[in-house]
């Protein structure tokens, strides 16, 4: 067991570009669920729309990248409008199911053999990251984070991603402190009261959906920039549910909640995963793994992290719904 590598890899995972993607997606979800009380179970759909709005124009139609980035925002807002006009008048539990359904419609369509010419089907799209490589100021060889190597491209994604995240988080923070943000929270607490004060609840919810959706779409972009490949499998419903785990872990309706939540979530998941990988590994020189094979082996150790993630979500909601740094008064769990 190489604990140095395990730890440095887990720490890297918690702050990597992949983590930034989770943070952004969860920040968007926090705007929906945490501040507005919208039970959006389709955040993965926003991330998928963002990812493919970048990858399709660039790798299929050779668009210049600023136009593709613009399309990311436009299509996320478009999806929010579509979802909003169709579902926001429904009850919360209907909203949850319809948003899941729409996210799955998006994923299944992206996955379809029929649309392979456009989306690349199950294999997804590659070759759309060259613009990011071109404007990369860091040298190719990258740096070492203790025992974990970070290549130049990933380092660039990491640094620019953190700057972007800080900008987004600051914007969300300022928005939620503004009168507009206070109306959102009042809608979360009591929709009818907000309405009786003459607030257009529907419009506020729609705006919240658009802002959170656009942030989620940018998160999707960072996810596929890090993987250098956009595949529909990354945008399954579990992505949305893990985002819920993250914001509950970090504290609902807190700007730093998604950031801290992601770091803890990914650190623990990666630590479990890579320790088990090491503990079940066999080499020709050392054929017996650390853990007995009747218990766990190379083929099934990867399932453990999902078990941990799933049961952790359940346990968190039961035992510590305000998360680690959350405020009990701010939890959005009583949306009806």
């Amino acid at each position: 067991m190489n604990w140095g590598l395990i730890l440095s890899n887990s720490v890297y995972t918690a702050i990597s570009a992949n983590a930034i993607a989770y943070m952004l997606v969860a920040t968007g979800l926090n705007v929906h669920f945490g501040y507005t009380g919208l039970l959006n179970f389709g955040q993965a759909g926003f991330a998928a729309i963002g990812a493919y709005s970048l990858s399709i124009p660039i790798s299929r139609f050779n668009w210049p990248w600023p136009c593709a980035v613009l399309l990311v925002i436009v299509s996320a807002i478009g999806l929010a409008l579509l979802l909003g006009f169709t579902t926001l008048r429904l009850r919360a539990d209907y909203l949850a199911i319809v948003t899941i359904a729409v996210a799955e419609i998006i994923r299944l369509s992206l996955n379809s053999v029929r649309f392979t010419w456009l989306t690349g089907g199950n294999d997804g799209l590659q070759g759309f990251t060259s613009f990011m490589e071109k404007i990369n100021p860091f040298p190719q060889q990258g740096i070492w984070l203790w025992k974990q190597k970070i290549d130049g491209y990933r380092l660039w994604l990491l640094v620019s991603g953190w700057v972007l995240l800080m900008v987004v988080a600051t914007l969300v923070y300022l928005l939620m402190r503004s009168p507009w943000g206070r109306v959102l929270r009042s809608i979360r607490e009591d929709e009818d009261a907000a309405r009786s004060l003459g607030k257009n609840v529907f419009a506020y919810k729609l705006q919240s959906l658009m802002i959170g959706g656009a942030i989620g779409a940018i998160g999707g972009v960072w996810l596929v920039l890090d993987k250098q490949s956009s595949q529909p499998g990354d945008f399954a419903t579990t992505f949305t549910f893990f985002s819920y785990t993250i914001i509950i872990l970090g504290g609902v309706a807190r700007v730093k909640g998604p950031v801290i939540g992601t770091m803890i979530f990914l650190f623990v998941i990666q630590l479990v995963d890579i320790s088990l990988q090491q503990a079940t590994k066999t080499t020709p020189s050392d054929p017996s793994p650390v853990l007995p094979t009747w218990l766990i082996d190379q083929n099934n150790y990867a399932q453990l992290r999902f078990m941990v993630a799933g049961f952790a979500l359940a346990a968190l909601v039961v035992f510590r719904p305000q998360g680690i740094f959350g405020d009990k008064r701010e939890q959005a769990f009583d949306v009806h």
Partner: protein, 442 residues
């Protein structure tokens, strides 16, 4: 392996009987290569048996493959995995064909099976040195029917799916009705029965399916009751909000699903019996005895349970709690006991559905999760919490799903889409669902 791509796409494309060709172009390596280097074309030949909803996919060995292009040609024979790897200069277009006469006995090519496909190294994402494609052949003989001739079969498939959905979603609706919980872990209760039945049928004592199934169903009922006693009742006592409980059920569902994957593995496996039985012909439709059994048992269960709900004391009590639990407890109904009964019954029904689903499409770790969205669609369309609404919704969703394959035979892998679009449209027109009560919202 490259055929996995086609497989995963086809897993959704169940139900269309017959044979079709799916070509999946795949990147072989992410590094760009010069155009004149040798590229590889990987061809797989897969048999999709009829009457299995296209689920069984056996590789076909010993099939002669020929690749012809301007820059060169190559020949090959598929190996035991049904794969043939051919090396050709990586430039231009190639026509790939297979020799139908070299297929083994019992595997046939139909009028609409394509025996040729083309591969173009210069088209699409042109980085990479390899391309792959799959030929699907089969033993089905009914595809000679015209479009209208296929409709009765589609309707029968729709009814079968609807009945399975109905069995599973009635429990979901009762649980929602009595406790207000949208139970995302219902999918895992469904899978539980199939897994336990599979163990008794294939791994443990190897009992016949009809003997093993009651144990599976009992396991699901127990699982439902255990959830209620250990998780939901304590949470209700703490007056945890419904949203929290919904998220708890999501967490439990994810965790449990991966426990299944851990122990069961990722493969789709079948019960020991009723595999590959010949179909019984009923005029325009052919049904395997297994599917006929699935339909008859499902219908009996659905009708029997409806009578139970409408006529018996317990059924009336369940509906009373579902209507207004405070009023029900004021009239002397022990609501906690009724809710426990609902979980046990709902779990048991989900278990029956799970065994039926396992018999129809094979046992798989995420089989419940695959139909969970359809169940939600069914019980949402019907009006949340109304068991008869769930019944009606199941038929709407089941029929829409199968009819999609008839209307759009080219995009069968998107058939879930038909159901989901139906869900969204119906909710737009009737926000309270088909049988739901109107409520002022928004």
């Amino acid at each position: 392996m490259r055929i996995d791509i086609a497989k995963s796409a086809l897993r959704r494309g169940t139900g269309v009987l017959g044979i079709f060709l799916a070509v999946s172009f795949a990147l072989w390596s992410p590094s760009a290569q010069a155009a004149q280097e040798d590229g590889t074309i990987t061809v797989s030949v897969v048999e999709r048996a009829s009457g299995d909803n296209g689920q069984a996919k056996n590789p076909v060995a010993g099939v002669k493959i020929h690749v012809q292009g301007a820059a060169g040609s190559a020949d090959g024979v598929t190996d035991a995995k049904g794969l043939a790897v051919l090396n050709v200069p990586q430039t231009g277009k190639y026509d790939v064909s297979f020799d139908a006469t070299s297929l083994p006995k019992g595997v046939a090519v139909n009028s609409n099976t394509k025996t040729t496909a083309s591969i173009d190294f210069s088209a699409g994402v042109s980085v990479g040195t390899g391309k792959s494609l799959s030929f699907f052949v089969g033993t089905d003989t009914r595809t000679t029917k015209g479009r209208w001739g296929l409709l009765p079969q589609t309707l029968v498939n729709g009814i079968k799916l609807s009945l399975i959905l109905a069995i599973c979603s009635i429990g979901l609706a009762l649980i929602y009705g009595t406790t207000g919980l949208t139970n995302f872990a219902h999918s895992e209760i469904i899978t539980m029965a199939a897994m336990v039945t599979f163990w008794f049928n294939q791994n443990g004592p190897r009992w016949p399916l009809l003997l093993a199934a009651p144990f599976g169903i009992a396991a699901s009922a127990l699982m439902g009751s255990a959830f209620e006693l250990r998780v939901w009742r304590p949470l209700r006592r703490r007056s945890t909000s419904l949203t929290s409980m919904m998220i708890v059920s999501i967490g439990m569902a994810i965790g449990t699903r991966y426990v299944y994957l851990f122990f069961f593995g990722g493969r789709n496996r079948r019960f020991a019996q009723y595999v590959g039985d010949p179909e019984i012909d009923f005029g325009p439709v052919g049904i395997t005895p297994r599917d006929l059994g699935v339909m008859i048992i499902s219908a009996i269960v659905v009708i029997g349970f409806s009578i139970f709900l409408l006529r018996t004391r317990f059924g009336k009590a369940i509906r009373a709690v579902s209507d207004n639990s405070d009023l029900a407890s004021a009239t002397g109904i022990n609501t906690d006991r009724i809710i426990l009964l609902v979980w046990a019954l709902g779990g048991g029904l989900a278990g029956i559905g799970g065994v039926m689903l396992g018999a129809a499409t094979g046992v798989q770790w995420d089989m419940g999760n695959v139909i969970l969205l359809l169940l939600f669609a069914a019980f949402t369309v019907g009006g949340l919490g109304n068991p008869f609404g769930a019944l009606a919704g199941s038929f709407v969703i089941g029929m829409f799903t199968e009819l999609w394959t008839w209307v759009f035979p080219n995009v069968v892998e998107l058939k879930t889409l038909g159901a989901l679009i139906a869900l969204v449209v119906i909710l737009l027109v009737r926000p309270q669902g088909l049988l739901g009560q109107k409520e002022r919202v928004g």
